[in-house]
Chain length 363, copies 2
């Protein structure tokens, strides 16, 4: 493993806020964006955290592809639904505002759904779903993203890794938080194998002819990721169907880009990413306390069920991430040296030295 | 392949109606149930059609485990939500009524969700989702079912094959209809391999110790199905997460049974199956015509994208089933001779000979 340096969450947060403020984001919005990025790092979804600060956000802000002052405008609104136009704003701000308004509407109407067109990459989908938890609501968020996944029997990346995130409150147990790409693995996983010079497991990706390959370079170079399930025999068309589903809600219903028309963050054009949010009041269906007791019971049922040979523990979705976040909040967030180097480089570009105190080193 | 006999859809429908009427179901309800069962046969989901007429429905009706006159009662209701108690009625009637009322509510409010507790197996989930299509709505249906799937790292069946069905209207293209079990394959698929004395593909199921096995008997005899994705390396915990999601909406939110407490149809007790339905008005978000044009565009994008070597066609979800239904509607529905034999046997039990005209034989 490469060396990582440990940093305090608060220090990283303050740095990100300053970084965004330098890009003309208001301090209030910058704090929201920092919280969303660092929630990814805390939960162990390093690929969606501070590592993208400059590549996905800073660079696009400086090029004028993300509008720091984008006004979120209402396209259509009813008592239960809200269709928004993100105005090419920062995905995190757009997403946070859209989910906040969705929750507000659900408070009034029991249910609400919000779509967003013309946004940018918004970080981890799970953040927005989890916003509903404190309100005793179920939260849902989908987003489409740049094409990386081939449809079953296809060989070209036509769909994003289009995540599904659903957060459900529980009682004594930790909440259930599903936050899953609809591909088997994200593209970053393939890059990790490529950099390490190792073959990828058979079934994660295909080459430019649509053949399953274990060579990460062939996936990265004109190939594609496989949808959840993998090959046809293992029912990969279900993962392909889920990726389509997310694109229908986030792209088509929102009136945003979809399919392979969603732009890469590195493209010099508006990304036109679309998002979908939903909030559901538990008490519209049954008393909250009863629901939470049953959630605890369902969770315990799974965790206490017999383990496979060689296994000691069954996990609930989100559980590993909650534990990771607790650990990292006390011990610090580890950033790979290469990530620290790139933060130093981008910091220099914008005149904001990345010189935070290092709490420790992990070899 | 075993021999199949071909029957007219109308003849089978009339037979099913008579069969249910003999079990004290009203003719109106019997017609609905027949339509739902035969929609499965027409679409090629033979496992969920007439094959179950007696095992899942007739037998349970005669034992008093399904109440033919169950009144659907309202547990809780708001302008957008409806929590129903199915009163241990026939799953198809409960499901049809619940989705009809969900659609009616969505017509008023833009969105609606309906849960049902204390129901029985309701057939194919896709039928209820598709009910929304003619209303220019997106339809969603989930149901939980008897335990057949082990959680990741577990070895005991704790969750049903809990399907996700979503139907979305399109313009010139056929609608998108996702109707997928959250396991890799249904249990019936394992039985087919077992009867044929063939090994199952590696990854579909595990034995009683949680080890992946290719012996179908080991899956059937105290083992379990694997969730979509399969083993951990291929991200089977995502399929496990989706199965949990369906159980949370259908079981926990509905206040019905969940996890391994949902009874097998062959058990001598109420199944307490739970369902979830949602309907979403397209025009709450954007003009229906624009939406349909974009759906067509998304569908064409996929279908016209480059094919993998050796493949000639990319499918959209539901497409194969729509084509199959057209063919079977004109050529007849094929029933395996063993299925015909069991229909004859159950027909004799209830004094309703199964002696329909055979249109042809498929060897």
């Amino acid at each position: 493993m490469a060396r990582s340096l440990l940093f305090r969450t608060e220090d990283l947060s303050e740095y990100i806020v300053q970084f965004f403020v330098r890009h003309d984001i208001t301090p209030k919005d910058a704090k929201i964006a920092a919280d969303i990025l660092l929630t990814a790092d805390l939960r162990g979804v390093d690929s969606h955290g501070i590592i993208r600060l400059d590549t996905y956000y800073g660079t696009r802000l400086r090029k004028g592809l993300i509008d720091p002052h984008a006004p979120l405008s209402v396209v259509r609104e009813t008592g239960t639904t809200l269709a928004l136009d993100g105005g090419h704003g920062l995905g995190q701000i757009v997403g946070y505002t859209a989910m906040s308004r969705c929750i507000e509407k659900a408070r009034q109407s029991g249910l609400a759904m919000t779509t967003v067109r013309n946004s940018n990459h918004y970080g981890i989908a799970g953040y927005y779903a989890m916003m509903a938890l404190a309100q005793d609501m179920i939260g849902i968020s989908f987003t489409n993203s740049q094409p990386l996944v081939a449809p079953t029997y296809g060989c070209k990346a036509m769909l994003g890794t289009n995540p599904i995130a659903v957060a459900v409150p529980s009682g004594k147990e930790r909440p259930y938080v599903l936050d899953m790409a609809t591909s088997i693995v994200p593209i970053g996983r393939i890059t990790v194998y490529d950099k390490a010079g190792k073959p990828i497991p058979e079934g994660w990706g295909i080459d430019h002819e649509g053949k399953v390959t274990t060579n990460p370079k062939e996936v990265l170079d004109g190939g594609a990721l496989m949808p959840l399930g993998g090959i046809d025999l293992m029912r990969g068309y279900k993962g392909y169907g889920l990726a389509m589903l997310v694109d229908i809600f986030s792209g088509v219903l929102a009136g945003s880009a979809f399919g392979d028309e969603v732009a890469q963050p590195s493209n010099n054009k508006p990304a036109r990413v679309g998002h979908f949010f939903a909030a559901i009041r538990i008490d519209a269906f049954r008393p909250v306390e009863e629901f939470k007791q049953d959630m605890d019971h369902l969770i315990q049922m799974m965790k206490e069920s017999p383990k496979a040979v060689g296994q000691e523990r069954i996990y609930i979705h989100g559980e590993k991430e909650f534990e990771m976040a607790e650990r990292r909040r006390s011990e610090g967030i580890p950033l790979l040296e290469t990530v620290v180097d790139s933060l130093k480089a981008s910091g220099q570009t914008v005149g904001l030295p990345f010189d935070l105190e290092v709490l420790g080193v992990i070899e």
